[in-house]
Every structure is written in structure tokens, then in C-alpha cells.
């Protein structure tokens, strides 16, 4: 099996999706001739045609709104927004139309579309290029929210997203695009939504993460193992639907939990997880649940970015504090 990085895994998956379903179109800014700003759609226009891999005007609301219309009329569009910080003009389309059409038409019309959005900090890009506001989408009724952390999951979850009967926000961790390689089956194997992955087995505490934070959390877990602390690392893979049983099951076994997210702290997805854990596993807890998060600041620019993104040190410190608590 060939080793691929996460970016290559996504390209492979898109190639297969385009080949297997003539109703799939890709559309977005610069996705065609140049293959996208991160080259995820590289070569796909040549292979599948300019009528299926479409360069659009610079208009995010237009891209998502047009994709919505296409989906309603029977196609399966996959839209790309260049960076999460550029998705906000399209948020009205997502919250007011994409997420609602099934409900407001009682299943008569549906919008099976995927909106791919690179997210997160760590590459020293310009302002607005480092956002991690996944909680906004998870907070929006009617959207599924997917965030892969490994090359195989990226391909497998994208296959599942493309076949899903409902709209999917597919957030791609920018700094993981080329950070690690992994085995990716060709053709990729679909990965179901709503099933968290145990990335590391441990019995002392549960570290919960997703997307770009997972590799850092695994590094932190190795550090902790050096100090005799065995952490279980749970990778959620999808925020909506959420594998609540996996979260509660793991925390019930370990009795301790820390949640790691890159997004802003207040009303972040970690807060939702912490609330769910106290609702459903309070009597298993040996210590308060910790959150390791970005701050309620604008994501700093390149030179100060390291103050914002949770790194291995902060994760280890939080885990140690959870272990010390009782």
C-alpha cells in the first residue's frame, strides 16, 4: 500500500469520487487550472474536464449558493473555500439555506453537498488564514462537521462525505497536509461518520482531540508515558455526528479527561464535550475535566502564533494537572 501525505490522500479521494459519480462537480476559486491554493485538486481538471472541475469568480457566497442549487437539482457538488477565514461571507448560505432545506421542505428537497475548507494555524500565513472556528458549524443545526487527522481518514471521510445525503462541512487541517505520511488504500476505504478512533490506548486519562491537534496530542502522550502516565488518545474525526459513547466510555474507564482544541476557548467544542462528560460521567471523574485551547484572541500573526496554538508543553502540563487533581 502506498504511503501518502494528507494532501495527496485528499487528491486521491477526489479523483475516485469524480470517476465513480458523474454527478459530482468540484467548484471553487483556483481549483481548476492551478489545482487549488494547496494543490488538493491538482490534475483533476485535466483528467475530468473543465465542466466538472470549475474555476469560479472570487465569491464565496456565490460558490456555496450555486453549489446549493446544484445539489437541490440532483448533482453532488463539492465546493472548496480557500481558507476558513474566507468562509464567513458564505456562512449565510450555510446557516440560512444549505442546513435548512431538508427541514423547511420536510425532506422534499435536500442539499447533499460537501464544503471543503482548509483550517487552522501553524504555517505562518497572513491574517484570516489561520482560523479554527469549527464550533460555529457544529453549532448550526443541519450541518455535519468532519475534521480528519490522518491521510487514510482524510480520504475515507471524504468518500463518506461525498456519498452523504446531507450537507457536510469538511475541515482540512492545513498544517497536517504535508506533515506526516501514512498508508492510504487505493481506492480509499470509506470511514463512517460518528465513530471516534482510539489513536493510543491508555488507562490513566483520556485526551480528546481532532484534526490538526491530534499529532501534537500523540506527541504529548509519549512525553507523559516517559513520566509513567499512560494516556488514551481519542480522535473524534466527526463533531457532528459525535461519538458520545466513545467519549463517555473512555472517560468512565480512565476517570480523567483533558480536551484539546485549537479554536477559541469560549463556547468552543471542548466546552460542549466537557458539559457532556459532566452530564453523563460525573461519578466516574477523579478530577475536573481540563481544556487546552486557543485563546479568545484573534489568532496571532506568524511571529506570535506559538502563544496561541496549544503545543505539546501545554498539553502535557494540563494532563499532569489532571493527574494531580483528585
Amino acid at each position: 500500500m502506498a504511503e501518502r501525505n494528507l494532501a495527496q490522500a485528499l487528491t486521491l479521494a477526489l479523483d475516485h469520487i469524480l470517476a465513480s459519480d458523474p454527478g459530482v462537480l468540484l467548484l471553487g476559486e483556483d481549483v481548476g487550472v492551478t489545482g487549488g491554493v494547496f494543490r488538493i485538486t491538482d490534475g483533476l481538471q485535466d483528467k475530468h474536464g473543465a465542466d466538472r472541475v470549475i474555476d469560479t469568480p472570487v465569491a464565496e457566497s456565490g460558490i456555496v449558493g450555486a453549489a446549493f442549487g446544484m445539489a437541490v437539482a440532483g448533482l453532488r457538488p463539492i465546493a472548496e473555500i480557500q481558507f476558513l477565514g474566507f468562509a464567513y461571507p458564505a456562512y449565510d448560505q450555510m446557516v440560512s439555506h444549505v442546513s435548512r432545506i431538508r427541514n423547511r421542505s420536510r425532506h422534499r428537497f435536500t442539499a447533499p453537498l460537501v464544503i471543503r475548507i482548509p483550517y487552522g494555524a501553524g504555517i505562518g500565513a497572513a491574517e484570516h488564514h489561520s482560523e479554527s472556528t469549527e464550533a460555529i458549524f457544529a453549532h448550526t443545526p443541519g450541518l455535519k462537521v468532519v475534521i480528519p487527522s490522518t491521510p487514510a481518514d482524510a480520504a475515507g471521510l471524504l468518500l463518506t462525505a461525498a456519498a452523504d445525503p446531507d450537507p457536510v462541512i469538511f475541515l482540512e487541517p492545513i498544517r497536517s497536509y504535508r506533515r506526516m505520511r501514512g498508508e492510504v488504500p487505493d481506492p480509499p476505504k470509506p470511514v463512517p461518520f460518528g465513530e471516534a478512533a482510539v489513536r493510543r490506548v491508555g488507562s490513566d486519562l483520556t485526551l480528546i482531540a481532532y484534526g490538526a491537534m491530534v499529532p501534537d496530542v500523540l506527541d504529548a502522550a509519549e512525553h507523559l508515558a516517559g513520566a509513567g502516565i499512560e494516556a488514551e488518545v481519542l480522535d473524534l474525526r466527526t463533531l457532528v455526528p459525535l461519538d458520545i459513547d466513545a467519549v463517555i466510555g473512555s472517560v468512565a474507564r480512565t476517570g480523567r479527561a483533558a480536551i484539546i482544541q485549537e479554536g477559541h476557548r469560549t463556547c468552543g467544542f471542548a466546552a460542549e464535550l466537557a458539559a457532556t462528560i459532566q452530564e453523563e460521567a460525573l461519578y466516574s471523574l477523579e478530577a475536573p475535566v481540563a481544556r487546552v485551547t486557543g485563546w479568545d484572541t484573534v489568532v496571532p500573526l506568524r511571529r506570535a502564533e506559538h502563544h496561541y496554538v496549544p503545543g505539546v508543553e501545554r498539553i502535557v502540563a494540563a494532563a499532569e494537572s489532571v493527574m494531580a487533581g483528585s
Partner: protein, 343 residues
């Protein structure tokens, strides 16, 4: 501005349609106005949520949709019940929606009309995507979208027109310039002399028509629909008309416009105009008028009865409506609402 049927009922040029077709559309406008008056009345009785009257705009909506084939798409707003109904969206669904029931948004299979957009402006690009998808699937179906003068101020109007121009999608944009967006007059929406001229900026044809002239609207929409269907791209039609009633039943037009202006526009009523024309051609009688009104009233009453006979949605229906298969989160919340141990 294209005008064919003068307010006195005489023709300036040839009618684009036969007298029989004119009679059919006249009858449709009578139905639409009957629905509209009933909607306002029912709201006052507390049987509907807010109601948005389209009185005075019947020719713009009925005339434009009359150019479509039955399986073409209509993407419209809360003020476009006549357009939606003309394309097959049942009165009962329209009433249901206004009573505050999501099932109003579910027209029968084969009726390619989206439930009305409530937000202003975002829906026009949906028609662009729909037309694009139809062409991609080698169908000759086209999409027609309705919006008001206010919606042309939204950024999404620009994105929709621009995409339609760039990709030459089979779409007809019908702007009902009814002079007011709630309280704000047309000249405070745009410094453009006309709305139709905005089409120039997108490289597509724009046509301004007298929106209270059924025959002018029909002539422009026939041409635009043919263009779209023949692969010649989109068209913007500005139908100049007037919202005779309030914005909604929650609005008081006395705060922002003179009664004289309303009276002047009532004098250009789109239905009266066609009646005078038909009468002059010996195609209208008082008996026929009575017949039409009675039929429309019966049809509308039946739709109201059917809508009001439905029990409200159950709590479980709310959770079932969000996805094809409810998520774990929704399943748990349904249990909470149903008297489970949480919440």
C-alpha cells in the same frame, strides 16, 4: 419600458398571446387576488402568522411564470405566492406555510418550486446553480427567480448575476420593482436610473417592462425563457409595479408613503386593465367574472380547510426533519424532550 396593454385596456402593438390564453391568465390573476385578500383577512383573525400581500403584482408573477414549462424551476420569496402557485405549488401548501407549519414547504413531487425564501437576496444564486445543474444533466429545464427592488442591494444579487453571466446559466431573473422595501423607497436602494440597466454590468440582457401590464411581462418573459432554453444565457427583467398593500400585516405604510401614491397605482391595477381589454374584445362578461370569483373562493376555502385540518407537527417530527438519519445528538435530545432523564 416595454408597454403593450394600456391602462384603458387598449393595445399598443400586438399581444404576444391569444385571447384564450389571456382569459386563462386573467382567471389565474383572480385566483391569486382571492388568495391574497384571504391571507390578509385570515391574519387579522389570528389564523395566520404575518402575511405578505402581493396585491397589485399579480401580472408580474402570473405573466412571467406563464412562459415556463410545467417542470421548470421557480425560486421565489414570501411575496411570490402567485408565481409559485402558477408553477404548481398548491394553495394549501402556501396557507400551511403562513400558518407556521414546515409542511407548507413540501410541494408534491414533480413541482419544481422551492419553498419561499424568507431571507432577502440569498436565493437568486440558487436558481443559478439549479439552471447550471439542469444544463449539466442535459435537461432543457430552466430556472426563474423572483425578488424585489430591495434585494438588488444585497451582495448576493451581484454574485448571482455575475455567476449567471460568467457561466451563461439558463436563468431568468425577475425583479418586481414594487417601489418600496418595507419603508425604503426605490431611489434609496440604488442610484441607478433603472434596475434593468444593472444587467449591462454583467454582460447579460436587461429589460424593463410595465409590471402591471400582463402582456408586456409575458412578452419579455417569453423572450427570456426562450433565450435560456436555447442556451443563450440569462436575462434580467425589471417589472415596474407597486405593492398596493402593506409590507406585511405587521407594517403600516402610512408612516412612509402618501395615500395619493397608493391611489394612483390602484388606478393602474393589472387585473382591471386585462378586464377592460377582454371586455373590449367581447371576451368578458359580468357573469363570467362572478363565476371566476366563486370558483376561486371555493378553491381557496377548500385549501384553508385542508391546511387547518392538519394536526401540528409532533415533537419527534422536529428532530426527524434535520437529516436523512438523525444524529446521535438529535436522538438524545429527542429523548430529553420526550421526558427522558436529562434536560
Amino acid at each position: 419600458m416595454l408597454e403593450i396593454l394600456r391602462p384603458d385596456g387598449s393595445l399598443d402593438g400586438d399581444s404576444p398571446i391569444s385571447l384564450a390564453e389571456t382569459r386563462r391568465l386573467y382567471a389565474a390573476m383572480i385566483s391569486a387576488r382571492t388568495y391574497d385578500h384571504k391571507g390578509t383577512a385570515l391574519q387579522k383573525q389570528g389564523r395566520l402568522a404575518t402575511y405578505a400581500s402581493f396585491e397589485g403584482q399579480e401580472a408580474a408573477q402570473v405573466g412571467a411564470v406563464a412562459s415556463l414549462q410545467p417542470d421548470d424551476w421557480v425560486v421565489a420569496t414570501y411575496r411570490d405566492a402567485a408565481a409559485m402557485w402558477m408553477q404548481g405549488y398548491p394553495w394549501v401548501n402556501l396557507f400551511l406555510g403562513r400558518t407556521g407549519d414546515e409542511r407548507g414547504g413540501s410541494p408534491p413531487e414533480g413541482v419544481n418550486v422551492l419553498p419561499p425564501s424568507i431571507t432577502v437576496g440569498a436565493h437568486m444564486i440558487h436558481a443559478v446553480g439549479i439552471g447550471w445543474a439542469e444544463r449539466h444533466q442535459r435537461s432543457d429545464r430552466i430556472a426563474m427567480t423572483f425578488f424585489g427592488d430591495g434585494a438588488t442591494s444585497e451582495g448576493d444579487f451581484h454574485e448571482a448575476m455575475n455567476f449567471a453571466g460568467v457561466f451563461q446559466t439558463p436563468v431568468v431573473f425577475v425583479c418586481q420593482n414594487n417601489q418600496y422595501a418595507i419603508s425604503t423607497p426605490r431611489h434609496r436602494q440604488t442610484a441607478s436610473e433603472t434596475i434593468a440597466q444593472k444587467a449591462d454590468a454583467y454582460g447579460i440582457p436587461g429589460r424593463q417592462v410595465d409590471g402591471n401590464d400582463l402582456l408586456a411581462v409575458r412578452s419579455a418573459s417569453d423572450e427570456a425563457v426562450a433565450r435560456a432554453r436555447d442556451g443563450d444565457g440569462p436575462t434580467l427583467i425589471e417589472a415596474v409595479t407597486f405593492r398596493v398593500g402593506a409590507h406585511t400585516t405587521a407594517d403600516d405604510p402610512g408612516r412612509y408613503r402618501d395615500r395619493a401614491e397608493e391611489d394612483e397605482w390602484r388606478g393602474r391595477d393589472p387585473i382591471d386593465r386585462v378586464r377592460r381589454y377582454l371586455e373590449g374584445a367581447g371576451e368578458w362578461t359580468a357573469e363570467w367574472q362572478l363565476e371566476l370569483e366563486e370558483e376561486a373562493a371555493a378553491e381557496i376555502e377548500a385549501a384553508i380547510a385542508e391546511a387547518e385540518a392538519l394536526d401540528p407537527l409532533e415533537a419527534a417530527d422536529l428532530f426527524a426533519g434535520m437529516f436523512a438519519t438523525p444524529t446521535v445528538q438529535l436522538e438524545r435530545q429527542r429523548t430529553m424532550l420526550g421526558g427522558g432523564s436529562h434536560g
